[in-house]
Symmetry: C2
Subunit: 420 residues, 2 copies
């Protein structure tokens, strides 16, 4: 694994193997795929000791290497977490199949056209040291008939090896070729680069993780990518807002779980309500030690607030920090948001129906809220059951992605000798 | 226009201007957009003398510069062709609007979620010297509420300038900001490269033209691309084929219009019917002077056929040339096709239902035909009305793209103070 050539050949061989096995899962039946998922759910519980042991080794290595506590927390498994991963698989089994669904029509010349939903083919997922993603991502691909190449963070490699072995066995027991699933057992940056060049074998690449990871993948991947998760989200408190509602929703959108992508990073407040709203918001946020950074007009009201810079407005903090700006109109708010946002989730608090419509029409984002928290942008909250991620792009899938995002369509045309 | 900096600034300014005008067309009404299309249709006829004069200059320049006759033919307009372009606009007016369509549902917590279809934003189209594409592409974008940046081939620049001026005026007369439409009035390669880097202002880039153009765009564009049109298509004559049907369909798929992407380039024939099928196919193709290049077993039957090389199987001729290979099974045919095809359109001629199903399931392509010509892969033939192109990718749109391919979705969420 030291030389580029070796890494290249290893990864090419691995991806080629998955591509060759693809038809086994693409042509499998729904009962087979569901059986595989149930097999995995059971295997996780039956082999929990082995999983925990491997995970312990990963956690110890991470601690030794000075990995930060929040990352170690994400890396760490325990019985309850394994149970949670297993339970999620049963939920996935219960979801309706999306494959084979479609429309059919007959043209005047007699040809029959069926448009049916089919798997994408080989899906590759690059993610960080979160072992739950290993099972979750593989399971979503299995449910949708896709072969899958996983490349997780190096810190979780021991845990991931156990997961992959159990999942391959589960596939085999369901009559699906185990080569439909592979782990890139090389966690170097070079390995990731090689993987991103495997256009011939991988149909789509999905990065799951930090903004940095996503950026790297979007910039370097040679195959189509589904961009997910970057969330520089805003909440605008309008002149016609119910101030108490605004305080409650703004605090929820910022403080309830600041580390997630659908939390807000900047608060925009109409000048005519800033004096009433801002002190109330600051008061409710005190318990969270929220670091407020404001424009000059904000700092006239909240004298203890730090100064917000251009960089603050462009930053996804994912932390107990918020930028605040006082604006003079909904138009100014919309302009600011469209300049800085990542097209994820944006909200307005207003009782004015015209203002609300203007905001929803002119904001460019996957989800635009009126009088509700941005925290609802989520597959489960939207009622989709499973979620592959939240797409911030406009092509293919936008917003929370359900199972359908892992599929494409195919036209099956039948005739009896028709020509043009 | 000599210096890189000047070209960069010119194109950046142009794209920025279109992005800023985007909301004018995004927020326009359907009657406004349809009025704009009717205005264009009328203006083309009313100003046909000016169009023909500009086009004459383009054609004369092209002839002087040694442009090949088929390209000059595509470049040339006449009264009938202008009438055709104008008529197509009226057809587009008649098509149902796709914007604003969608679903709505309410979650247990009371938030209402609307998923509505919205324009993509700013669409850029890079194409060659076909002036009809200038109007056609702009019109499809206008119908779907998108702002548009057009970059046509240098040979058509005079014609395109007139078209753009007429179309801008037509937009303005319909109350839509004319800056929603722009022509890149720099046809250098450098200009194209700069355009492909304008990720901040362009939401999607669609190349329309030769395989070479599409390849360049896919490799270089920094924004999402919809890949269209490359068509290395095949027809497989199975052991259980109706031979007369096979001859008729194969000849249609190859000889009726070889220059288009849904024509076939390689014929695969089962060994047990090759002796009966190939001489009949060669006979019917004689009138087209078809250049047949075969494998060894083909040449034992068609002794005058040239030898087909690996390169032949990988080539989209778009001409009266065909590669032929004798195979021993449907599995071998499928393997060959999946190795060489461009995921466009593939066909089998067979009366065996099991073989047909195997072929349709295992071929990786946008459209898979049983007993019909691949020439039907087309928006109009499929009944979609308009066609932006034929997507050979799996994400976003696959196969013939109707108006919906120029749109995305947006989630509009309303509540009365809901938080998580």
């Amino acid at each position: 694994m030291e030389f580029t050539k070796e890494i290249y050949e290893y990864i090419e061989q691995l991806c080629k193997g998955v591509k060759e096995a693809e038809s086994s899962i693409a042509n499998s039946t729904l009962p087979q795929r569901n059986t595989a998922l149930v097999n995995i759910a059971k295997a996780l519980l039956e082999n929990k000791d082995e999983i925990l042991e491997a995970n312990k080794a990963d956690v110890e290595n991470a601690a030794k290497n000075g990995v930060i506590p929040t990352m170690i927390d994400r890396l760490t498994l325990n019985e309850a977490r394994i149970k949670g991963i297993s339970d999620a698989l049963y939920e996935l089994v219960g979801l309706k199949d999306v494959l084979g669904m479609g429309d059919v029509w007959t043209r005047p010349n007699g040809i029959e056209i069926k448009r049916v939903r089919v798997p994408l083919g080989v899906v590759a997922i690059i993610f960080e040291a979160r072992p739950n993603v290993t099972v979750d991502a593989a399971a979503l691909c299995i449910k949708t008939g896709n072969a899958v190449v996983l490349r997780g963070g190096k810190e979780a490699i021991n845990t991931n090896r156990v997961f992959i072995r159990l999942m391959k066995k589960a596939l085999e027991q369901a009559g699906i070729c185990p080569d439909c699933l592979a782990l890139v057992d090389n966690t170097s940056r070079e390995g990731a680069s090689v993987l991103m060049s495997m256009r011939d074998y991988i149909d789509v690449l999905i990065p799951r993780g930090s903004a940095g990871l996503i950026r790297t993948v979007v910039d370097n991947a040679k195959m189509p990518v589904i961009e997910t998760g970057a969330g520089n989200c805003h909440l605008y408190v309008d002149r016609d807002a119910d101030i108490d509602m605004a305080v409650k929703v703004a605090s929820n959108a910022k403080n309830q779980r600041p580390s997630v992508c659908n939390a807000i990073e900047t608060l925009l407040v109409h000048s005519s309500v800033a004096k009433e709203f801002l002190p109330k918001f600051a008061a409710i946020s005190e318990q969270f030690n929220l670091d407020i950074r404001g424009c000059e007009r904000t700092r006239e009201i909240l004298v203890n607030a730090k100064t917000a810079t251009e960089e603050d407005y462009a930053t996804e903090y994912d932390d107990y920090i918020i930028a605040v700006k006082v604006v003079d109109s909904v138009e100014e708010a919309v302009k600011h948001i469209n300049k800085y946002n990542t097209k994820h989730s944006e909200a307005i608090i207003t009782n004015n129906i015209t203002t609300a419509e203007y905001f929803q029409k002119n904001i460019d984002a996957a989800a635009v809220y009126v009088n509700a928290s941005t925290r609802f942008t989520d597959g489960n909250e939207f009622g989709f059951g499973a979620e592959i991620g939240i797409s911030t792009q406009k092509l293919h899938a936008r917003g929370p992605m359900g199972l359908e995002a892992l599929t494409t369509v195919k036209y099956l045309v039948s005739g009896n000798g028709q020509i043009r």
